[in-house]
Each structure stands twice: as structure tokens, then as C-alpha cells.
Symmetry: D3
Subunit: 191 residues, 6 copies
């Protein structure tokens, strides 16, 4: 099974800014996540994708980093995206220091046992993920009732939207996860 | 009805690069499309969105500009996104010089009467738009049988993915289209 | 693209009563709506269809004419019927004197911004349109809470039912709208 | 449980032409089918409904009467309409002289064991019944491959359309079947 | 039409314990229900199936026998299982002494007219039958509000689960009902 | 979060035959899988469930043990059952000696990369899992074309049916997996 239907671009063949930027991620993780090599044949799109991703996932106010990853895993579960579930499931385990949460959310995001705030975040993401035409005032009211601010609601919605795109790119490519992701954060110590 | 649930940012309140960039669009169109003012409260996200959009929609090789807009309208129809259907429906009418095509595709993208190549493009977009978990080799084979290259298939898939995001942002905001869009390209002359 | 898969019958080839009846419509509109020529090969069915249509759409008490057209456009949107969306969208624009409403309702009937009464009418039609097996007391209660009388509820339900039939006939024929419909009522003056 | 949410009109309170027409049916059947009394509060609609019904169900060329009832039961099964399944199930048993067919088709129209022509008729009806937006050339090709003429295809489509309406009226009213229908045609002799 | 795609095993060819056990049922009913002969080629599975069935359907506390059959018919209707609808429809008619209830529930389990307790039982079964991933606290709360004990809730859920299996076995085999079932319990006297 | 909504029964409180039988499993695994304690309050049902399970999952001819677990994981993924995905995912990893397969199949059973025989097995299970009313000859033909015997087809269908039940019981209980399952078989050595 190829890693992507559209081939992979090695770091050395990327424009310098992308090579450096992804090189930093690789150094931290110990490997280059496949998504970067898979999008490398279209540098302008990869650059925009990274910018969008960082603007939403590295934002310091509002949602915690674990909560942002929760939105990603719930959205990717609703969209059945193997790459994003496995890769961001790993990050969610690490950020939340909970080795079970990713498997619980990815197998059944609608009923996974979560605290009230996490449930409200997940429900908001799910409302937008698959049938966005029904998204409406009652979804917003439920989120606000659980204490989410409008800025946090935006974050949940925008991350859900970004991974609506990301999930579809991965499906287009039949993108396979790096083997490393499967094990990351599965023991509480290393998690 | 407000134009967006999350308020609008006027051009003068945007960072300079965005003000200039959107100013140019506004000068060509004669008005500022609401999506720009609606995303203005998050300049980094707006910038990444514009970069992604331009990388895919202003690309000169492969799909024609009309074909790119066809993908947007079919995807937005499948996602029932009023803003994108009305705004990109206008652009599709203009690019294709066909005053009826947008209403036909947006009302029923699955069976709208299209030539063979346009039908293959639309079917590919629809396969990825709503149930991406089923996207597979048979979808790719159908696209290739209609003469689409892998580069064109990527374009269709990536535009579908970008508007999966864009449609959801519009639903999140309950974004309303500018009144100008409704009439653009509806007569063959001006079209 | 043929106007109908089953051919068209010209006015001169219709029985006299239908020729006169449709002739009157044509004189008012300036053209013969394609549905009449498309159903002309079965005069008895066309006659019954017209009788049913007129009994529901030309009724003077209860719902306004704009409200009746709103039910038609919402139902036809739920059923993705190009002919009925384009043709009755035109009539809705004219009856409601609102050049945007048809595109808003047809692109997303579930969340189109409407006043409370129009929303209740639309929700009632949508409840019956696609999953009628779930239609029940809670749908009726919501309609009554918005002030609809039982007679008005019947009208909404019966129009939804008639266009469940009409939409399917149009899908069976792949019926194309007359070009004139696309532009009617799009400017407030002429609207 | 009332027979209809909107009340019943007795034969004596109907206009003369309807009283006579329905009286004839009642004399043949031995009872007045509830649908007639339930629609009686709107005589013009009832009259148009009867005209449409008779034009399609009493037509002598093309489909047999049993085949027409098969379309009704399959459509009503897809729409989960209790009144139409029970009432037309009875007629189907009688017309086809098969005491089991109605229960087989109504419980699972997609896979009920049927001869090739009946299966093609049923599949055509089902294609139009629930997701008419996908109805297309491949559905027509399958029907023609099974030997259906265009005139027969029209009949199947038009009956499916009429009962799309009829099923929804019954759901609107929560119309209950007459007790007599449950037993009719269940033994081969009387069937 | 064969009774099962996988053939039938006659009583004489079954292991002695099964021959006796099914012989008793046959003596009471007057015929051997097809399901037993159809599962006979796998005696261990048939034995386990019978044990599970008897543990749930012959239990004397909690739900009445008619209520247990109501769960079976509602579940089988949601799963469109002809064999189970016809066979257990017969038993439901007999147990409830109501010759109409099975046809009402099987044609539309969501809106069939039922008393409050029967409606709660049916709704609980339906919540688990088709989209079990959404089953949650609100379903349990509704059941408890209608007076169901936790033991009764378990019975409803477990019977729904058992027939989720049973319905699928019947679909796998295209299992046909015995002719006798169609008529059982249809007249109040014999019912 | 409780392990089950309906409480747990400890081994010591089970009838002797069940205590011994489950004790053996516990000795092999090093822990008592939660499903056994969760079903313990209904010993007769637990006994029948175990018998059915063993008849299908411990059968030595036909499908391999890894293939049987593949059916379980695919079915449980289609039904979004956390307990069964996590518990049987562990067993699938061990039986197949593939530490990634369970996450791939559970995140997207429809498109997970599998060899031809495994894909045919998985497709057969999926055809029966969610919309069994459409299961038909074309599903069987595809399985046979991939070389499956009728005996193997039965196994796939019957395991899918058993876990249709099992998944629903787990949803009814909101059953949580034992922590041990999450890590089992995740490294090739121990796997």
C-alpha cells in the first residue's frame, strides 16, 4: 500500500521555507508526518494549509491545546479519516495525558464519556461536521449554556471546518499514517 | 437578519496587506464580498484562507476557471451553503457564459444536464463532498475514463476540500450573500 | 438537452378545454410553462393535475399566495427538483416582492432566515417532505404554537403532498425550466 | 384513536357528484374506504384526487391492474404509510390472486422475491420514491432492459408520484385503515 | 423461490435434543417454523439461538409476552425483515388479541397509534435498532418517565439486540415465512 | 464513568459453570473482560451469548481466527461500538500479527487497505451490518467471486449478526473497555 495515491515529496525537494518549517516539526516528533510529504507536490497549497493550521491549532487563548485536538479527533471520526484519527489521536493522548480518550472519541464521538465542557465542544463540532445545513441557533445556545464564549465557539467551528478539508484531502490520497503515531501517548508516563 | 453571527470587520480595520488585497477584489467587483469582512476578525485565518483559495482558484494550468467554479457550486449545493451557492453561482455564470448553469447545478448537482467532462468533474466532487469515507478507486477510475489527468483530479479534490471548509464557516456564521451576487451574469450579454 | 425525456405536446394538439385553460396562463405569463406541454401526452392526468393545483394554489382564504409558493419552493428544494425550484422560485419572488427569498430558501430551506410564521410554515412542509413516517403530534404542535390554524396546516401539508408528486414527475422527465423563469422577479421594480 | 386528525365527512354531506361516485365504490367494496371520508372536507381536492387516481389506476393498456397495485404498495412501503399499505395491500392480494405478496413487498420492497418484470417495476418505483434527485438514465435503462415500454415507465413513475402525494396526506391525517382491508384477499379462494 | 439460500434441514436430521425441542414447538403450532429448519445445518448455533431466545422471550417477570413481541415486530420493521415481521406479527396478534396491531407497527413503528407504555417500549427499541451509536441518557430518561423499570429497559434492549442478529440471519438466508403465519390471529375469535 | 449503566457482577457471584468458564478466559488474558461481568446479572443470557460466541469464533474450519476478528471489528466500526472495537481490535492485532490493522479497519472499514480476500470478507460484513434490507444476490456474487465458500459466507454473516446484537448490548450499557485492551498487540513482538 503506497503512502499516498499521489506520491510523496521528500524534504530535500521542498522550497527552503517549507523544508525548514517541516524540518522543525520533524525534529520535535522524531519523524516527518506523512501529510507534509504528501502535500509537498503543491508547495503553495501546503504553505497555506500550514498557515491555516498553525493559526488555529497553536493559538494560545481560548480552548486548550487538548480541546483543539478533541475537535480534530471528533471531526475526523465523523468523517472516518484514518490518517487524521491516528495522527491527531496520538497528539490528543499526549496533550490530554489520557491514553484512552482518542479511542473512545474516535469509535463513538456522539456518546464518548466526557466532562460537560468537552461534551459541549464535541457536540458543536459534530453538529457542523456532517450535516452543516442544519447548524443553527439551538447548537449555539447549547454551546453557550455550557459556558463556551463566542471566541471559543469560533475556534471549534473553524477547526471543524479546517479538518473537513484536511479529512477530504487524506481520503483523496488514501493517505496512510506514519507507524509512529499508533503508539504515541499510549502509556501514562510517556503520555 | 445580520450579515454574520460573528459581526463584520470593515476594510479600514484590517491589517494593511489584507486591506490592499481585498481592496483590489472590491475594485474589480464593485463591492466587498461579505466573506472577507466576515473573516476579518481573525486576520491570520483570513490570510491563510485567501492564500489557499488563490492557489487553487487562480491556477492557470489544468481545469478552466469555469470548471473550478463548477466544483465550488456543486460542493456548496451538496452542503446547502447559501452564501457560496449565490456568490460562486454568480462567478460560474460569468466564467461559463451560461446564465442557467448555476441554478441547474445548485438545485440538483447529481443530475444537472452537463457535457461528459463537466459531469465527471461534478461526480468526482460529489463523491468526496458528503460521504468521503466511501471515496475510492472506482471514483478515480471514472474520472480517468472521462479524460481527467491526475493533476486535474487533485484540483477537483482539493477545491472540494477547501469548500468543505468554506461552506462550514459560512454555516457557522449564517453568512448572507451580498445583494449584488444574485443578479450577476444572468443575461447573456453581461454574462 | 431535450426539455423532457417523454417529449412535448404543443398547445394545438391538446383537447380544447386544456388548450383554452393553458392558453390563458400563457397569455398572462407571455410563454407556456414547460410542465403543461410535458404532461400534454396524458390529457386526463394533466387535467386532474391542474384541478388539484388550482384547488390548492388559487385558494383565497388562509395562507397568502406568497406563503403557498414558499411551501412549494421549500418542498422542491428538499426534493432537489430543478424545474419546480426555478419556476416557482420566480413566482415566489413576484408574490413576496423579495428578489432574494427564492435563492435563500432553495439553497437551504432548513436555515433560511425567515420571520416566525414563515419559518413555521417551512418547517411543517419540510417535516412532511422527506421523512413523512416521522411526521407526528410534535410537528403539529409547533405549527399551532406559531399561530397556524388547522385549515392552514392542511394547506401546507396538501401543497407539500402535491409537489411531492409534481417534483417526481419532473425528475421522471428530467424536465427543464423555460429560460424566462430564471430572470423573473429578480429586480424589486419588476418583481 | 380517531380515524383522521382532521375529522371525517359522511357521504350525505358531500356534493352530489362525489356522493354518487364514492357510493359506487362503497357498493362494490361493502364499505366506504376511509380516505374518501377523510378528504371530504375539501371537495375540490377530493374530486381532483379521484380524477388523477382513476386516470392512472383504471387505465386499461400497459401495466396490468395487479402491477399498478404493486407500484402503490412498494411506494407506500418506502414511505411507511400504514393506510395505503393496508388498503392497497388488500387490493394487490385480490388483483394478483397471491395472498402473500403484499406482506412480502410491504415488509421489504427492495428484496421481496418477484419475477423479473415485477422486480423491474418495483425497482423503478423505489428509485423515484425516496431519493428522486438521483433518478437518472441508468434507472430508465434497467427498466427498458426488462422490457418496459416508455408508456409503462410513465405509468410506474406517475403512480409513484401520485402516491408520494397520497402517502403524505395519510401521514398528515394519521389516517387509519378500515378494519375490512386487513382480511381481504388473504385466502386463495376469496382472494 | 427457495425457503432459504442455504438450504433446510429436516427435523429427523437434527441432533436429538433439538429434534425434541423443536418438535414440541411444532406440535403446539401445527407446523415447524422455517427458521428452525434453516438454522439446522449449524446445530450449535441453533441451540445457542434457542437458549438466548427462550431466556428473553419466555421470561415471566417484567414485560408481558405481548410487549416482548411488540419489541420484536418494531425492531424487525425497522430492519425490514420479512420473516420476522410475518412470523412474530402473527404471535403479536395472538398475544395482544389485537388483529390490527402487527400491520400498524410493522408499516410504521415510529408513529403507530399505541398507548403510552407501548409507545415508550417501541421508542426505546427503535432508538437502539438502527443508529445505536446515538443511544444515550435521553432515551433512558424517556423510558423511565413512562414508568419502565431498569429490568424492563434491559429486556427491551436485549430483545432488540437479539433480533438485530435474527433479522440479519434471515436477510442472509432470504428466509421465507411459513404460509401459516400470514393468517394467524387475524380474526378476534381465533386471535 | 461507571463501567456499565446496569452494574457489574463479580465472578464469585456467578453460577458455578459461568464462574469456571470465565475464570479460564481470565487466566489466559490476565483479567476478566468487562462484558462478562456486565452480562452477569442475567446468567441464562450470558450463557447463551457465550455458547453462540464460541460456536462462531472458536470454529476451526473455514475462516481463520484473524478473519473472524476482522468481521467483528468491521461490524463494530460500522456500529460505532467502543467496547467491541477496543476489545476485539486487541484480539485482531494479536491474531493477525499486524499492530496497525485494527485502527485502520475501525476508523474506515469501507476503504481500509486490505488484500482481496480480506476486502471481500469486510464488504460482505458491511453489506449486512447497517442496511440489511438491501442485502442481496449481488453481495453474495461478489463474495463468491473472491473465492469465499458458502460455509465461509455463512460465518461472515453469522458473526456480523451476533455482533449486531453484541454492539447493541454494549450501547445499552454504555459499556467501557478494560484498560488492558488498549495496549495489547501494539508492538510486533508482543503482538
Amino acid at each position: 500500500m503506497a503512502e499516498s495515491r499521489f506520491g510523496m515529496t521528500e524534504l530535500d525537494d521542498l522550497p527552503e521555507d517549507l523544508r525548514e518549517r517541516i524540518g522543525e516539526v520533524a525534529q520535535k516528533s522524531g519523524f516527518v508526518p506523512n501529510i507534509f510529504r504528501a502535500l509537498g507536490h503543491r508547495p503553495a497549497e501546503l504553505r497555506a494549509f500550514l498557515d491555516y493550521h498553525d493559526a488555529l491549532m497553536h493559538k494560545s487563548e481560548g480552548l486548550t491545546k487538548a480541546e483543539r485536538e478533541l475537535v480534530v479527533v471528533a471531526t475526523s471520526a465523523a468523517n472516518h479519516c484514518t490518517y487524521c484519527i491516528v495522527a491527531h489521536g496520538a497528539v490528543l493522548r499526549i496533550r490530554s495525558k489520557d491514553p484512552q480518550i482518542a479511542d473512545k472519541v474516535s469509535s463513538n464521538p456522539w456518546q464518548a464519556p466526557l466532562d460537560k465542557r468537552s461534551r459541549a465542544i464535541t457536540d458543536l463540532a459534530l453538529a457542523l461536521a456532517r450535516t452543516p445545513e442544519h447548524f443553527g441557533e439551538s447548537d449555539l445556545a447549547a454551546a453557550r449554556a455550557a459556558g463556551l464564549t463566542d471566541d471559543e465557539i469560533w475556534d471549534v467551528g473553524a477547526i471543524t471546518a479546517l479538518f473537513a478539508a484536511s479529512n477530504r484531502l487524506a481520503h483523496l490520497m488514501a493517505l496512510q499514517p506514519n507507524p509512529e503515531f499508533y503508539l504515541m501517548g499510549r502509556t501514562t508516563k510517556s503520555g
